[in-house]
């Protein structure tokens, strides 16, 4: 039983990271924004959920679902501000700006003690449906909850990627100037997608609070951003299935290093080994499978919408050839 609870905890953590990776994939993988601010929106989501739901005087004491909705809205508004100010920047410049925003958010959380209780954080936070499910089984239930919402995230992201919007997003990733030359409003689109992806990250923040049942600024270091990006690159950037698999593989491998039997004095070394392992995995994948474990797959619109071609053949020269090829199909 204990091992089952431990394993389900592991899967829940993997699921949380997988949700982050799917959300980041919309933004960083399909649209191609180099966004290093993931942990910032994550922290804002988590903190706003906590502050909305805990009892007065610290919080507003709202019910849980209102807290979740509120946290998504607050994260969305904040990312609207961040996106509006920084999305005109290109690649590296955007990367460093979003990274800076994430750091600012963490430092604000650490220092504004009246709001967040500073570095001590807030303890003993409630989890959803805690009263209904007895202690030991709760983790299993929670894992189920995480997996269900991961499935919803995945479904949503996959639909989006297959839609005309997904194609448009990939076009922006491939060539921004050409996209502009065919009359598309790139900045507005980027902002829209950026806010969507960040709000999704904010929502995952609530799950993280439930999982940890505490909240403190040191939970939101840039290590999370890098883990999510590593998971995405590992699994296959631009590919939702890759994002999910990458996240699970990375988390499971990292956690598996806990089981290496070593004398107590080496435990610090072992903690460092976890970083080493994920770094090594990244290098190996980039060397041997540069597109990730699952490469971004090209799907033809003909397959997605089951189109058949009913154009009239215009050039007499092409008639024989086209007719032949259609016959072959």
């Amino acid at each position: 039983m204990e091992i089952l609870v431990f394993l389900s905890g592991l899967i829940a953590l993997g699921g949380i990271y997988a949700m982050l990776a799917v959300a980041l994939n919309i933004n960083g993988g399909i649209l191609g924004l180099w966004d290093l601010g993931v942990v910032g929106y994550f922290a804002v989501g988590a903190y706003s959920y906590t502050l909305l739901t805990i009892d007065a005087p610290e919080g507003l004491g709202l019910p849980m679902f209102a807290g979740v909705i509120g946290s998504v809205i607050i994260t969305g508004l904040l990312s609207l501000f961040i996106g509006y100010t920084s999305l005109r920047l290109q690649s590296e410049y955007l990367l460093i700006t979003t990274f800076a925003f994430a750091e600012i958010i963490r430092i604000v959380a650490a220092n504004e003690e009246w709001l967040t209780n500073g570095n001590i954080g807030i303890f003993g936070l409630d989890k959803p449906f805690q009263d209904l499910i007895p202690g030991a089984n709760y983790m299993l239930f929670f894992t189920g909850l995480v997996l269900i919402s991961l499935a919803i995230f995945y479904f949503f992201a996959q639909r989006l990627a297959d839609s005309p919007m997904g194609r448009y997003m990939r076009a922006i990733r491939e060539n921004e100037i050409v996209t502009q030359s065919i009359g598309k409003k790139i900045f507005a689109t980027k902002l829209k997608v950026f806010v969507l992806s960040s709000s999704m990250v904010g929502l995952v923040g609530c799950f993280y609070v439930w999982y940890m049942s505490i909240i403190a600024p040191n939970m939101f270091t840039s290590a999370i951003t890098f883990t999510v990006w590593t998971a995405l690159v590992l699994g296959g950037i631009g590919n939702n299935r890759g994002a999910v698999i990458g996240a699970f593989v990375l988390i499971l491998v990292q956690e598996a290093t806990r089981f290496i039997p070593v004398p107590a004095e080496y435990s610090v070394v072992l903690a460092g080994l976890r970083q080493f392992v994920s770094g090594m995995m990244l290098i190996l994948v980039l060397r041997f499978l540069p597109q990730g474990l699952i490469a971004e797959k090209f799907k033809s619109v003909e397959k997605i919408f089951k189109f058949h071609d009913n154009t009239i053949i215009l050039e007499p020269k092409g008639v024989g050839k086209n007719a032949a090829s259609q016959g072959a199909e």
Binding site: R159, L160, D162, S163, P164, M165, R167, Y168, R170, A171, E174, N175, I177, V178, T179, Q180, S181, I182, G183, K184, K185, T189, K192, V193, L196, E296, F298, S300, V301, E302, F305, F307, D309, N310, T311, I312, I313, L314, E315, G318, K321, N322, S325
Partner: protein, 249 residues
């Protein structure tokens, strides 16, 4: 149709384009030639509003457009191609073209609540794209990624993509560079066919044979200034053009 008046641009101390005035009438193919660094592409970038001009005026369809945005100008029907055609390398030919039409379904959630409308729209665009690809003999490759095309095919794809946006005038930036003679013949045929259907062109190229073949009128730029204009005949006999461009004295 397109009038450019006294257009100037400087990058710091470099005067890239100096008081250029030119005009393109409906149905014409107008050439723009000049040595490397003459400011041809800068002029294109200004006309398509990718670059703000320092002074001067651009009129398109009797409307002043120089304070407008690149997107708005495309909406009016002014399209440009690029010197190095890359398109969208990791998108298939179909996708390369289907992304062009202004799409109602380009909302984040529209695929969930108006799926039927999107499919209908997509089918329309798909038919249009297939027709276009057939005209340009690219139909067989419709599901290939654009990065697998040859340079000449990419030039054709570039042309197709801009055609999808219903242009009234097309600015072609070196459509003939890197294209082999047989493909060049086809390119000429396509351009002349489009012109006979009412399209207007402004073409930059270094291949003078190509330019002389298709153009009604030619402007010659050197060091940012217009040094000559006229019919192909006049340009080919112009001493100034010969000296700056062909190096003859």
């Amino acid at each position: 149709m397109l009038q450019v008046k006294e257009l100037s641009k400087n990058f710091g101390g470099v005067q890239a384009v100096k008081n250029v005035t030119l005009e393109v009438n409906k149905g014409e193919i107008v050439g723009l030639i000049g040595p490397n660094g003459a400011g041809k592409t800068t002029l294109f970038n200004m006309i398509s509003l990718f670059l703000p001009s320092n002074s001067g005026e651009i009129n398109f369809l009797d409307e002043k457009i120089d304070t407008s945005t690149p997107e708005a100008v495309v909406g009016k029907g002014l399209l440009r191609t690029f010197q190095t055609p890359v398109g969208f390398p990791k998108l298939s030919l179909l996708e390369n073209l289907m992304v062009v039409p202004p799409n109602d379904s380009e909302g984040l959630f529209s695929i969930f609540y108006k799926k039927k409308k999107i499919i209908r729209e997509e089918q329309e665009h798909y038919d249009q794209v297939c027709g276009l690809l057939r005209q340009f003999n690219l139909y067989e490759k419709r599901n290939e990624l654009a990065e697998n095309l040859s340079a000449a095919e990419l030039k054709l794809l570039e042309l197709c993509r801009q055609l999808m946006a219903n242009p009234k005038i097309m600015l072609l930036d070196e459509p003939a560079s890197g294209v082999n003679p047989i493909m060049l013949d086809k390119m000429v045929q396509h351009i002349l066919r489009l012109r006979s259907e009412g399209m207007t062109f402004l073409v930059i190229d270094h291949n003078l044979g190509f330019i002389y073949r298709i153009c009604d009128r030619i402007y010659c730029l050197a060091n940012g200034e217009l040094i000559a204009s006229g019919t192909p005949q006049e340009i080919s006999n112009n001493d100034k053009v010969k000296s700056v461009y062909l190096g003859a004295s």
